[in-house]
Symmetry: C2
Subunit: 199 residues, 2 copies
Amino acid sequence: MKFSPLVDELIQSLRVLPGVGPKSAQRMAFQLLERERKAGLKLADSLQKAMSDVGHCQGCRTFTEETLCPICASNKRGNAEVICVVETPADVLAIEAGGHFTGRYFVLLGHLSPLDGVGPEQLGLALLEQQLSSNDVTELILATNPTVEGDATAHFIADMARRHNVVISRIAHGVPVGGELEYVDSTTLALSFNGRIKL
Amino acid sequence: MKFSPLVDELIQSLRVLPGVGPKSAQRMAFQLLERERKAGLKLADSLQKAMSDVGHCQGCRTFTEETLCPICASNKRGNAEVICVVETPADVLAIEAGGHFTGRYFVLLGHLSPLDGVGPEQLGLALLEQQLSSNDVTELILATNPTVEGDATAHFIADMARRHNVVISRIAHGVPVGGELEYVDSTTLALSFNGRIKL
Ligand SMILES: [Zn+2]
Ligand SMILES: [Zn+2]
């Protein structure tokens, strides 16, 4: 016996969250029970709706409950013929915060990682190739993370894109090696866009 | 615009959890959406049930969905006439893990903190006094944290308990000053029980 069944179950369930161990889960459960019941119910509701209703954007694969995400649905993007490939939705946010990129995105939701069973299919590359083979796309900017896996993924996509009539580039200057795009400031990100290298 | 409304809402809702800032909340939301949908729904369900159904044990005030928590409901405790006062349910767990205490508990769910509006009423001391005035209780062990607030709370309760016919003690040796009971190993906790000082 530890706590009462419902309290134990809440503590166990909280451990699905990344970075939450047994002690943190206990602290979270008690804080919610002690003084955040309303916010706890709101979290339950948000989770229920998001887990059930959020799917993938049919344009860029990012998470959305609509057919198209707000960026793909917008007709106000200046360079809709340029696609920027990133690993995560947070990367989109980071680049949008900079405000210098006005094209569209393609969100891989990961990077190639054969040992974890993540191949071209898991990254939705068929959808990306379909977009490249339409005549609407003129340039592909590869903005995967500057890590071993991100580089490998960028090269794989570049090889695929060479079969199509598009300019291919990789963001380069400014992003620290081994770092994660999401944590880079917007000036550095802007530099890395300007200094992109044609592949 | 950040993400889609349901994704934004999930990220916002996750921030109610202690220690979860904007970046952690994003990481949690994406991890759940990417590969823990089932566990996310389970968490929603656990939260919903716990926030709605968990109340306080009528014996010791700890969190439970029943009238009495498993410890208060048990008739197998060897020293039911001894009450150990602790600050949190996690402290009960820590003491139970040691296995040397066979009395009952009283869980304050906090400590006296006038500036935060936490007085005797918030700690349920009327219920404790009611138990002390019955003839069933022979000893009161004050196991609040060895911090300024925990000490002040212990002294306040000791003063209250002196009006009743009970032996009053405070756990003492072994628990590091300024530390938190919950993080003390069970041997140290056992020592601090044996070395308790009569007040
Ligand atoms: Zn989209
Ligand atoms: Zn109880």
